[in-house]
Amino acid sequence: MRRRDLLAGLSAAAVSAAAPARAAGPAAYRRGNGADPETLDPHKTSTVAEATILLDLYEGLSTYGPDGTLVPGAAESWTTSADGLTWTFSLRPDGRWSNGDPVVADDFVHGFRRMLDPATGAKYASVLAPIRNAEAVNRGAMPVDAVGVSAPDPRRVVIQLAQPTPYFVELMTHQASTPVHRPSLARHGEAFTRPGHLVSNGAYLLKDFSPNDRITAIRNPHYREAGKVAIPQVEYIPTPDLAAAVRRFAAGEIDSLEDLPADQVKALKSRFGDRVVLNPALGVLALMVNVRKRPLDDARVRRALSLALDREFLAEAVWGETMLPAYSLTPAGLDNALPPPTMPGRDLSPLEREDAAVALLREAGYGPGGKPLAVELRYNITDNNRNTMVAIADMWRPLNVTTSFAATDAKTHFAYLRDGGPFDIARMSWLADYADPQNFLFLVESDNDGFNSGRYANPAYDALMRDAARETDLEARARILSRAEELFLADLPWIPLLHYRHKHLIGPRLRGFVPNLRGVSPTRWLSLA
């Protein structure tokens, strides 16, 4: 039994010794957090790592509960008009900024306006797009006070929507919808996000920011439920090297990780047991097909390519089960949705699938015996992307498809797609902002010029999406969206590969963690043993 060498033995020994040795560490929760934030200005953020921190520092009108469900935040309640276009939020009387100032409705109005002000340069202004005039304001076509937000009194925020938006409450949890402390902003300008300057209304307040090292936040004494916040201090530690981060976790230097090296998850599971938590997420990894390019403009070819994929192998071998095989665009478990429709051919045995794929290709004039089909797979370089693409190329080989790779760094990849480069098939991924099928299906609307680089344009699909947007009956809306997804699955402008899962490594000290679809666990609900 020389199969595992010394290192594996060493690490196994280390794990067994790991937990108790440093478990009695500091009272601070050392939270592994992917990357450093670009900014702590909630209106300029865009990344997941920022969302995690800002969820602790700020509180929107609504927010997330311990299990990721939507609960009232700065607003204690809200009402909706019958047409679904006017929302009235009532603020809590005891809402306080971290310097003791009361949180008032004008804070929110100002926040929405600032978010949409072109001068702010907000990346995520689209979160507020459902609000009336929001897009026009952000384009600079209207003045900022034209935004459909008002504060009739200090405790009421009234929001006018452009169209009914069933997921609007969830949008209000987003950091883009949080207010910023106006006096601090006025006093410090851009620098209001510095430790010492930053005044926030969440459960924590910023204490220190050391780039590439850690961000320290402490309990906000003025927070309305400060007494119930168990963890007095949280340190967000960036983990750019996941393997090294796991080692730090094993040594007890980090209490939890929110990303894991996928190719090692199997080993991590045997090493850390149920400390490894995998849970479905709101994301999809797909191959975007350039539907304007021959022969990929032929849906039969796209379906054939999709049928030949062994998604289980990808999920298991390449991604270490940190992904789930995707046979639809939307993942299961969304709000206001029917169960996702299934891709045609899903229930076939692999053999039948292959037969079907060959038949489809033959119809289109390709496949074994037909014209050779050469495609280029374009992807941004990461280990897992590379392995995924290699495996996909291998799976297409029996179809007589020869695959070449165009691997570039991320910036080049995304710029290439944005600029409409003549790609064949490109890797695409999407992490949704809210648990609604619309947040997936809008990706391939013909006028979505940011995401729809494959130039899919199906008038019937667009019409369904328009209908759904107008529909106020949630069940009817869900049915319309499901029909749209069926259209999508028949056309396959994107070939869904895998659905994301949240990956957590939870240390022995951490209590109160509840895995959930949105992958959020605000520190205020957690505690340390």
Binding site: R4, A8, D263, A267, D383, D394, A406, A407, D409
Partner: protein
């Protein structure tokens, strides 16, 4: 080394320089060992992939992440799970499984008649060979088959996708060595010409030329290389031509210093007095006398380039599929150090052995090329 020198002093002096250097190297045990090792690695990389029995890009879906072993796969214990997985894909049940030496007998059962075409799955799997039908039940719902076990050996294990690591390492070696040589050749060409020109011409030309070198020195190398990768990402060779075009700076400095020294030597004066043109002086006197330090530096540059490639791989900017290199394999291996240490150890062993041998050989070569040594 001095033994042969002492026994044939005349033969020494009369042999050509290169022959002399060769003889001196052959007499040196360490040099011999290094050269032999390099030759072995090069040969293994060239021929090895045809011998290992695995195509370097073949994915064995049944064997991802297999540790190195002399043993044959499949192991008896893994036959059953493989069968179950296969049966699931065929949408049948595997019953009455019996492993007999190098074959397996079983019955495929299903609720509807079993299509015998599913048997192609056996030959397509990595575990079994082509299956033979032994018998069929009347209703067609049970099919007795026998399939031979396919024997595979992964001496150095497999990677995450189940590709044979030894084959991949050897194939990667081709690219790494070729890149090292290519970039070094470019750096050598530019550096020697540039440095020799600057050193020989001297004066204001020299000052201007060296100023340019200083400026290029002040550029952050990493940034420059990343930009090159961004620009030439599709062509590895082009990246390394460009890397060579950056790496020549040191070479130019060394060559210039040496050339300055040589230029002051009387034999260069004598050559000028004989009426040799500047080009001829460069060719016949300056460049040959630079040979020692240049060869040594070049041989040290090959490792540097190969390491640079591995650094780029660490950043995820290295060689791209389907090609692979030692740098890529090592960067992958370093990440899965705890879970699959062989993925690091195997390519790293090749890399380190090659680079150590190369460095040692370079030092010996420099000594051997010095005509004054051992005289």
């Amino acid at each position: 080394m001095s033994q042969s020198a002492a026994s044939h002093p005349l033969a020494w002096a009369e042999a050509s320089l290169l022959a002399r250097a060769r003889r001196r190297l052959v007499g040196d045990r360490l040099a011999r060992a290094s050269a032999a090792l390099l030759l072995l690695v090069a040969l293994a990389c060239l021929v090895g992939p045809f011998v290992t029995g695995h195509p370097y890009d073949r994915l064995y879906y049944d064997y991802p992440g297999t540790p190195p072993s002399l043993a044959l796969y499949p192991k008896p214990a893994s036959v059953r799970p493989a069968l179950d997985r296969l049966a699931f894909r065929m949408r049948v049940r595997a019953e009455d499984v019996a492993v007999t030496g190098d074959a397996v007998r079983l019955t495929l059962a299903s609720d509807k008649p079993v299509d015998s075409r599913v048997l192609t799955f056996f030959s397509r799997s990595d575990t079994f060979g082509e299956a033979r039908i032994l018998g069929r039940s009347e209703d067609g719902r049970r099919l007795a088959v026998e399939a031979p076990l396919r024997s595979l050996r992964f001496l150095a294990g497999t990677d995450t996708l189940g590709r044979d690591l030894l084959t991949r390492t050897l194939v990667a070696g081709r690219l790494s060595l070729a890149l090292g040589l290519l970039a070094t050749a470019v750096a050598l060409g530019i550096g020697v010409i540039y440095g020799a020109l600057a050193g020989t011409l001297g004066g204001r030309v020299d000052a201007a030329m060296m100023r340019l070198v200083d400026i290029l020195y002040s550029l952050p190398f990493v940034f420059f290389v990343i930009m090159l990768v961004v620009f030439f990402g599709r062509s590895v060779a082009l990246i390394f031509v460009a890397v060579g075009a950056v790496e020549w700076l040191d070479m130019a400095r060394i060559v210039r210093a040496e050339a300055q020294g040589i230029r002051r030597r009387d034999y260069v004066r004598a050559a000028e007095a004989l009426g040799l043109s500047t080009a001829a002086i460069l060719r016949r006197h300056v460049v040959p006398n630079l040979l020692g330090p240049v060869v040594a530096f070049a041989a040290l540059m090959v490792p540097r380039v190969i390491l640079l490639e591995s650094f780029l791989s660490f950043l995820g900017l290295g060689v791209q599929e389907p090609a692979t290199s030692w740098g890529v394999l090592i960067a992958d291996g370093a990440r899965s150090l705890e879970t699959a240490p062989w993925m690091l150890v195997v390519p790293a062993a090749f890399l380190v052995a090659t680079l150590v041998a190369l460095t040692l050989l370079a030092e010996r070569l420099r000594d051997a090329l010095d005509p004054r040594e051992g005289a």
